[in-house]
Every structure is written in structure tokens, then in C-alpha cells.
């Protein structure tokens, strides 16, 4: 048992903290709105080797573990960097084609199956990705088609888009859609858990950044002749945030640790009676719920204690506020995630719900 970062994790954190601080100050996220993608930043990011990090060595990748990747994701979240790296990391493990491993092509993952019309709706990174990996019917497939390059205007200014899972959909001819079957639909489940875990880490980064912004602001802003940080109502609401953030960080690390073990073929336990839970899917679901809550709360409190300025576009906190919600909600209602967690903890419901 060791709850500090390993030497490798620390080294990776230093590299990416440095990269995002230099290359992706918050002005970059702001300038990338409304699309939520900065291709210059993506190109710079490729120089760090980030695009192929998750891919095994025999496909030319760096074979980083999930425990290492979440460290990158936390730094990305802290910078609210406008690049779909998390989706790319997840998709690249499923479909490690050379241009994707190199990052020349951007890949993403559809979090929900294609609908009856053969369209994946609101795919994160879908506005800019060259390849979408996702479920259509019984298959997990990779579809290569031209990205639309624009996103419906949305809460987080995220590069979401509908993408075709089949030829002839969204007005495309078969020549424009290249479809590869990767495996059965069930093969997506571990990838979704990777997405949950990495996104949870990014949300921890967002929450931590929001806390830092809020703390700085309340120490400087004066009302009634004193810094507003001296009011206990402000202090106590802010004091909750480091607790939630540290809790979310530890939970995300535990999920990643369990994910690495699951990849090595080790099965985790689920013993709710003893609170011994090291099953990967359970922890991944827990992590996205809790980190989502922490990020929503931290950005909310930080914005609130900016007073009216927090609501003004000119101030940065609103950028974090919107992403804390948008980056998590592309997956769906957290209550549904909780039902998934409950299923693993308690088994399936045995009788149909009475709709109480």
C-alpha cells in the first residue's frame, strides 16, 4: 500500500504539467471556443508522444498503463486543454492503426451504440476525429470518414458531433465511409471504463484548477473592508472542496490501478458487506460519478464566490464551470451510472420495479 505517486507517475506528471502550462494557458481554451479544438496544440502535443501512449509496443506505442495515463488526464483537465486526447487514447487501444498511433489521424470513441438510423449521436471529439470506434448492432466497429469540423453549439464548447456508423448515413456515400469490424459489441465495455477513469481524472484536474482560481480570488477581493476570504461562510464552503478533490483523486487512482490489474488478467473482488471493492468496472463507475460531483461542486462554489464577475464571460471560472458539466454528461445521467454500480454491488434487481 502506497498512496503517493510512483516515480514514473511523478515524472509523467512533471512533463505534462509543464507542457500544458506552457502550451495551453487558459487563453487557448478560450480562443478555441466554440469548436473546442486547437489543431496547433494537437500538433504540439504529438511531439510529446502522447497520441500513442496507450498503445502496446508491438503497434508502435509507448504501452503506458492506465495509472500513468490518468496523470496526463488530470493535467489536461487542469488546463481545460481543447484537444480530444482522452477519447483518442481510448480509441487508439482498440484500433491502433499507424496514423492514429502517430496522432496524424485523430480517433474517438462513441459512448453509446449507433441508433436505428446508423448514426452515433453527440460523439465526444466527433467534430474533429478521423476515426470513430463504437458499437453498431452486435459489432464493435471503427469507421473512418471525414470529420464535420464543426459542432452543435453546446454548454462546454466541446467538439461533439453526430457521426455515421454506416455508409449512406448523414448524407455520405459508401466511398466516403470505411468500416472495419474490430470485435463483438461487448469489447467496448473495458474501453468505456477507461474513458470513465480518464475523464474522472480530467474532472479532478478541472476541480483542482477551479479551487485554486477561487482561493486566489477570495483572498484578493475585498468587501466591508476585508478580504472576502475572512468570512466564515466563504471559508467553510471552500474548505469542502479539497476534501472532495482529494477523495476523487484517490478513487480515480484506485480505479486505474484496478484497470491495470484487470488488463493483466486479475479479477477484482466486490464485497459490499466489508467495503472491499477492487473490481475495475465498479470503481470506474464510482470514479466518474464522484469526480463529476466534485468538479460540478468545486466549479459551482468557485464561480459563486466570484459574485457577479463569476458570471461574466470575461472571467475564466465560467470556462471551467461549463466543462465540469459538459465533459462528464456526454456519457449520460450520473444516476444511471449509479444503477450500473448498484448492479455490480448488489446483483440485478430480481423483480420489475414498481415505479415507486
Amino acid at each position: 500500500m502506497d498512496l503517493s505517486l510512483s516515480d514514473d507517475q511523478r515524472a509523467i506528471r512533471d512533463v505534462f504539467a509543464d507542457f500544458f502550462t506552457k502550451e495551453s494557458p487558459v487563453s487557448i481554451a478560450r480562443a478555441a471556443e466554440p469548436l473546442g479544438f486547437d489543431d496547433v496544440l494537437w500538433t504540439r502535443l504529438l511531439e510529446t508522444g502522447a497520441a500513442g501512449m496507450a498503445v502496446p509496443e508491438d503497434h508502435g506505442g509507448a504501452a503506458a498503463t492506465l495509472s500513468e495515463l490518468i496523470v496526463v488526464a488530470e493535467e489536461l483537465g487542469r488546463a481545460i486543454a481543447p484537444v480530444p486526447l482522452i477519447e483518442h487514447l481510448v480509441a487508439s487501444r482498440l484500433h491502433p492503426e499507424p496514423d492514429i498511433v502517430a496522432g496524424q489521424g485523430i480517433a474517438t470513441v462513441a459512448l453509446r451504440p449507433a441508433d436505428a438510423d446508423g448514426v452515433w449521436r453527440l460523439v465526444p471529439g466527433g467534430a474533429v476525429a478521423d476515426v470513430v470506434v463504437g458499437v453498431d448492432g452486435n459489432d464493435l466497429i471503427a469507421v473512418r470518414s471525414d470529420p464535420p469540423g464543426r459542432a452543435p453549439r453546446n454548454h462546454a464548447c466541446a467538439p461533439l458531433a453526430d457521426r455515421p456508423a454506416r455508409a449512406g448515413r448523414s448524407g455520405r456515400s459508401s466511398a466516403e465511409v470505411e468500416r472495419t469490424v474490430i470485435g463483438p459489441a461487448s469489447a467496448l465495455a473495458p474501453a468505456l471504463d477507461e474513458w470513465r477513469t480518464l475523464t474522472a481524472a480530467a474532472l479532478v484536474g478541472i476541480a483542482d484548477a477551479a479551487l485554486a482560481i477561487g482561493v486566489d480570488y477570495v483572498k484578493v477581493r475585498k468587501q466591508f473592508g476585508v478580504p472576502i476570504a475572512s468570512f466564515q461562510a466563504v471559508q467553510h464552503a471552500m474548505a469542502d472542496l479539497p476534501i472532495l478533490i482529494e477523495g476523487a483523486r484517490l478513487l480515480t487512482h484506485k480505479a486505474a490501478w484496478a484497470g491495470d490489474r484487470a488488463r493483466a488478467g486479475l479479477r477484482g473482488t466486490i464485497d459490499i458487506d466489508d467495503n472491499e471493492i477492487d473490481d475495475y468496472p465498479t470503481l470506474a463507475g464510482m470514479a466518474i460519478v464522484f469526480a463529476g460531483q466534485a468538479a460540478a461542486h468545486a466549479t459551482d462554489r468557485s464561480l459563486h464566490f466570484h459574485g457577479g464577475y463569476g458570471y461574466a464571460q470575461e472571467y475564466d471560472i465560467q470556462l471551467y464551470y461549463r466543462r465540469a458539466r459538459g465533459w462528464a454528461l456526454v456519457l449520460g445521467d450520473p444516476s444511471t451510472e449509479c444503477l450500473g454500480v448498484a448492479e455490480r454491488l448488489f446483483g440485478p434487481a430480481t423483480a420489475p420495479a414498481t415505479g415507486r
Binding site: 500500500m1 498512496l3 478580504p227 467553510h236 479539497p242 476534501i243 484517490l250 430480481t350 423483480a351
Partner: protein, 380 residues
């Protein structure tokens, strides 16, 4: 980060589980609830006999530092009350940090043998959160000290052999600088005890000190250095010596009962139980961090405050949800037919409110985080 326990720690855990299964029987637990004394000598003795108390004692333990967390986590989860063990080990940790050789030699071994309990005499009728303002006086008289005053909430004083007593030894200096901690035998003439009953069945006490005469060997730490001793004691108390996993036995009791009634099929019940389970995992991780620091020789003053606020408030939410989900059955006491989870739902709902009060209220802990972690000015 690495979340696997070492083989040694795993063994330690299974040994504790085995002992708690053997001696922490339903009758033992029932007796605790009947008497309001959440301490059982047979449990303490059995743990001590296997050397488990010694191994987990902060600063003394020779085992894996995480064993401190394991001991209290297993006690917490088992549902066996262990107030005696937590205060005794806390006291042993404090004595080891600041005590004299004589105190270390006489008190620590008897604590680690499971025979001796210690109570904490900090709070007074008029001074709780602002504990540095206490007025129980200790006045030097030749080689002796004479103590007069009254303490409130002196839990386990009716069972303990020793008390850590916080006194004022210099009224003429700023409040934090005139305090001295004593380590006294409870049978010292002049000490008297009156029971105080609580909503959660727990019995605590008011204690009175009338012309109590003790020698200077009873001073724990420095004269007028009592605030430093308090700092050590509070850092061990909060988040380290248990009390952060109450939600685990609540979920256990509740879901087994809810399965029987069919309630466990309801989506709203499942969602809430999942949310409680998530909080339980987070509380466990935050506790591991604080306990790790304490067991490795540090003082987790900040981390302890963080986990205490989180775990106790999550437990209160969980207890309220479970009682609501159970409906009227959640109102019934132990031994009443039809009581939800054999009465545990009602018990947890009665017990949960105190957890954000004792050991430092949530507000006091948030002040601590605001000042020490966020660097905000003192609000008081």
C-alpha cells in the same frame, strides 16, 4: 499508487477479523447497546493477547504502518463498539510522543495489554469547541498540584483507570499558553463521576475535581505546554482512530434487510445505496491516507480533519436516506418486531448526529482546513 496490502498486513487483517468473529458476538454488541458503554473488555483483551494493539500503536508499532488503519477499519466495520480501544491507543500514542520515561513505562504496557482504559478530560460545561478557554485550575503547592474544576462529556470515565486532564496552570497569559495536560489515575481522591445519557444510547459522564492532589510526575508533556499535547492528541483522534466507516455496517444491515422486503429492487433505493457505497469507498481511501501519515510518525492534523468532515457527513446523509427508504419500519428500536435491519436503521439515525459534534465539530474542522490548507485568515 499501490492499493494492494502487503502479505504481512493481510495476515494482520485476517487475524483481527478472526478475533472479532470469535469475541465480538451478537451478545457482546447487544450488551453494549443495553448499557451504553461501547467497550468490551473481552474484545480488548483478545486483541491485546495476539499483540495486535501493540502492533498498531502509533509510534510504537513495528508492523506495516497501514496496520493502524486496518485495526480501526475492521473494528468500525464489525459493528462492535470500541471506544475504549481508540482512546487508549490515542493516549498511548500521545504518551509515547510527549510523556516521561516513567509514564511510558507504567501506562503504555498496561494499555497495550488491553487491561487499562484512558478517558479524555478536555471539554467542560462552558467550553467545548473553544477548548483552549477551559477553566479547570491546577495550582502548584510545594511538590504537588491541586486541581479543581468540572469536565463535561468525559466518556468512559466510569470504566477508565486513567484520564488525560486538560487544566489551566497560568491564567495570566494568552489562553493557549497557560494550559497543562495531566495524566492521572482515576481513583485519585477528589474525582467524582455522574452519568450523562444520550440519544444514541451511549453513556457519557460529567466529572468533577475537588481538591485533587497529585505529584508533578502526573504532568504529561511540559507545564504550560498543554496545547502542544492537545495538538498531538487531536491529530491522532480525528480520522485515524476509527469513526470513519460507520456507513459500511449501515449498508450491510440495510441491503440484507431490503433484499428480504423487495425494497432492493426499487431503482431509487439502488441508486441511493450506490451513492452511499461510493462515499464509503472514498471515506476509506481518505482514512488510509491520514492513518498512514500517523503510523509513519507524522501528525495528520489536516488530513484527519478532512476525512472526519467527509465521513461523518456522508454517514449522516446515509443514515437519513436509509431511515426514509425504510419508512415506518425505520423508526423501530432493536428487538421490536418488524424493525428495519433489526433496529440498526433507527440506531444509525440516532447515532449519526453526534459524529459531526464530538472529536471536533465539522465547523471546527472546516476552520482548520480553511486556515491551514487554504491559507485563509482566522475567522474568529
Amino acid at each position: 499508487m499501490e492499493f494492494t496490502l502487503s502479505e504481512q498486513a493481510e495476515q494482520f487483517r485476517s487475524e483481527i477479523k478472526r478475533i472479532l468473529r470469535e469475541v465480538g458476538t451478537a451478545e457482546v454488541i447487544d450488551r453494549q447497546h443495553q448499557t451504553g458503554t461501547f467497550n468490551s473488555l473481552e474484545v480488548n483483551r483478545a486483541l491485546a493477547a495476539s499483540g495486535l494493539l501493540e502492533r498498531a500503536c502509533p509510534g510504537l508499532g513495528r508492523g506495516d504502518p497501514i496496520e493502524l488503519w486496518i485495526l480501526f477499519n475492521e473494528l468500525d466495520k464489525s459493528g462492535v463498539g470500541y471506544d475504549g480501544i481508540s482512546v487508549a491507543l490515542l493516549a498511548a500514542g500521545v504518551i509515547n510522543h510527549v510523556g516521561s520515561d516513567l509514564q511510558k513505562q507504567t501506562v503504555i504496557p498496561s494499555i497495550l495489554s488491553g487491561e487499562t482504559l484512558v478517558s479524555l478530560g478536555y471539554s467542560e460545561p462552558d467550553h467545548g469547541s473553544d477548548v483552549a478557554s477551559i477553566t479547570t485550575r491546577a495550582v502548584r503547592d510545594g511538590d504537588e498540584w491541586v486541581i479543581d474544576g468540572a469536565k463535561m462529556w468525559t466518556s468512559l470515565a466510569h470504566e477508565a483507570q486513567w484520564i488525560l486532564l486538560l487544566t489551566r496552570t497560568d491564567p495570566d497569559v494568552p489562553k493557549h499558553k497557560g494550559l497543562t495536560m495531566f495524566l492521572l489515575p482515576m481513583d485519585t481522591p477528589g474525582i467524582s463521576i455522574e452519568p450523562v445519557r444520550t440519544m444514541g444510547s451511549e453513556r457519557t459522564n460529567a466529572t468533577f475535581y475537588d481538591n485533587v492532589r497529585v505529584g508533578s510526575e502526573c504532568v504529561l508533556g511540559e507545564v504550560n505546554g498543554g496545547w502542544r499535547t492537545m495538538g498531538v492528541a487531536l491529530a491522532f483522534e480525528r480520522g485515524v482512530m476509527g469513526g470513519t466507516a460507520s456507513g459500511v455496517s449501515l449498508v450491510r444491515h440495510f441491503h440484507h434487510w431490503a433484499r428480504g422486503t423487495g425494497l432492493l429492487d426499487e431503482p431509487i433505493v439502488r441508486e441511493r445505496l450506490a451513492r452511499i457505497a461510493i462515499d464509503n469507498v472514498v471515506a476509506s481511501l481518505l482514512t488510509q491516507k491520514a492513518a498512514w501519515i500517523a503510523a509513519s510518525g507524522g501528525l495528520p492534523g489536516l488530513e484527519g480533519s478532512m476525512v472526519k468532515v467527509f465521513a461523518t457527513e456522508a454517514y449522516q446523509k446515509a443514515a437519513a436516506w436509509c431511515q426514509q427508504m425504510a419508512g415506518p419500519a425505520g423508526l423501530l428500536h432493536f428487538h421490536e418486531p418488524g424493525a428495519a435491519a433489526e433496529g440498526y436503521v433507527d440506531y444509525d439515525a440516532r447515532h449519526a448526529p453526534v459524529t459531526t459534534i464530538y472529536g471536533g465539530t465539522s465547523e471546527v474542522n472546516r476552520n482548520n482546513i480553511a486556515e491551514r490548507h487554504l491559507g485563509f485568515p482566522k475567522a474568529r
